[in-house]
Symmetry: C2
Subunit: 296 residues, 2 copies
DNA sequence: AGAATTCGATAGCCGGCGGCTATGGGGCGG
DNA sequence: CCGCCCCATAGCCGCCGGCTATCGAATTCT
């Protein structure tokens, strides 16, 4: 079954006249006649009853009409959507963001971006390092914002934005809440909430091992807001990057002897064309003022 | 946009590998490559991002996928339905029946027909003489059962079934109910219900005119059951063919001097192939025993 | 009745398009 | 480093869908 046969069939089912249907399709009448014949042969039954001025669809043709109509319509709407996409340029911008990065960091630049690209549609993908690299590879995300993604893929274009310190976050009701700083050994006694989604989590664990320190009971958290909730409820404490938005019911405490830092990067894929919006966002992020978070 | 391009596109969007998609479609890889290129050119944007083992749909390709899938699916289901129709032979039989003919007349033969053609689907069209001829012309009905359709179309194949008399039907409460026969002049004083849908209605009117008789107030009825209802309610009387099914609350009275008859025919269209079921029904009807209705 | 018109089918020609093979080039893995 | 995998390109060939011309039959007009 070929598309032109479907087109001719639909025209003929409207006009019920081979000559006029052919005109409508801008072909000669014998071409249309032959196409209909072929279609009938392929389907195994007559579609039309030819009777000069009484030509009409057979019962069989009647049954075929809706499906062939749908076939043609969906092809037509595909073309229509294609040209509307090209005209309106409504290509959405997909951004992968590490679960360990606070979206609030991007808000000012996203606001600016939306001002520049009216009607731009954003799509946010949240996940771990592995997922982010996968999304970039498969083109499901055009750019990504995350901590270090390692050497997992050499086609990553990366631009550092800023480097920030971690510090201990505790509930306002927590015994340590009033302290300005504590010692590393004090931390071990606490119920520490592990940010399993953090790019540096394995380095973090290794850090304790290298100091011969045994961590106590830890909850493994899968999302930053969940972690914040538990800290607020005083069910644990957590080492949080300073850029993370924290509520008023949380206090920050410096931990002596821990000089843990992370760098946030914006990533793209080398050798892959990016949309104008994606390039603009990269430019905005790189030009942004990150001094509020920058470690001394 | 051609069907093979759509087919190749769908295969490629599954495999994400030009070589394997080509194998799936049983064509050489360059053929598929070219087809995809053409499709992309027609739609005005790239459908795939070619990256060896990371080849994937672009955002644009993602948007096109559902519609092209639907396009292909509906073509496929058209073919599927076609072969299932051919195998199961479930072509419905469309029968046009005059509003003036009681369906009960056909019931015995229809019962027999259904026994012979298990799973046969019937479609009944009810209408006036003009509608019936139109349905036959346009192929919307394969056969028809009605009174005389006139010389309106010379391609009508017609077979008479029986000829029957008309007589006067009145309510059991009507003054004439007890009478065996009345004179034509008595009829004129009654409120006569006119069967506008009857093939013989104009002949009927002409009959009165030719006798110089002025009809009184008449209701114009559009359907036989409505007419029966009004007679039962004693809101009028009607000249009904004897084959019409009447309830127990209706009495028949002969009208002297009126020898009005109608013949019921089964019709087909000359030079048009009929389904086996249609031919069988014609045969059944012609072979039927109509003596119960036949005028003396 | 005869002429003109309409409508679909047929015959036959031609060019383009979709099929193929062979091959190139570039990136990835052993 | 070699070989393989994957896609693109070049170029050839045969089919298929386009066309014109024409016919036959049925319908309409004169």
């Amino acid at each position: 079954m070929e598309m032109h046969q479907v087109r001719y069939f639909l025209a003929l089912s409207r006009t019920l006249n081979f000559t006029r249907a052919a005109e409508e399709c801008h072909v000669a009448q014998p071409s249309l006649t032959r196409a209909i014949k072929q279609l009938e042969e392929e389907l195994g039954a007559e579609l039309f009853r030819r009777e000069r001025n009484l030509t009409h669809l057979t019962e069989f043709g009647h049954r075929m009409l809706p499906m062939l109509q749908q076939c043609y319509d969906s092809a037509a709407s595909a073309k229509a959507l294609a040209s509307s996409l090209k005209a309106g340029n409504v290509a959405p911008l997909s951004i992968a963001i590490s679960t360990a990065v606070d979206l609030a960091l991007l808000v000012p630049d996203l606001t600016e971006l939306m001002r520049a690209f009216k009607g731009l549609e954003l799509r946010f993908l949240r996940g771990t390092r592995e997922q982010i690299v996968d999304w970039l590879k498969k083109g499901e995300a055009e750019i990504a914002v995350a901590g270090p993604l390692g050497e997992s893929w050499d086609r990553l274009d990366s631009w550092p934005l800023f480097t920030e310190r971690f510090s201990l976050a505790v509930s306002a009701e927590h015994p340590l809440a009033g302290r300005k700083s504590i010692d590393l050994t004090e931390l071990v006694k606490e119920r520490l909430l592990i940010r399993t989604y953090c790019e540096l989590v394995s380095e973090f664990i290794d850090f304790f091992k290298s100091r011969q320190l045994q961590l106590g009971i830890c909850h493994k958290m899968g999302a930053e807001p969940d972690l914040i909730t538990l800290i607020e409820a005083n069910l644990g404490v957590g080492m949080l990057p300073e850029s993370t938005t924290k509520s008023g019911r949380i206090r920050l405490v410096e931990v002596e002897g821990v000089d843990f830092k992370r760098t946030i990067y914006v990533y793209g894929v080398a050798g892959r064309q990016r949309s104008a919006a994606a390039n603009a966002l990269i430019r905005l992020l790189r030009a942004g003022d990150w001094s509020a978070h920058e470690a001394a």
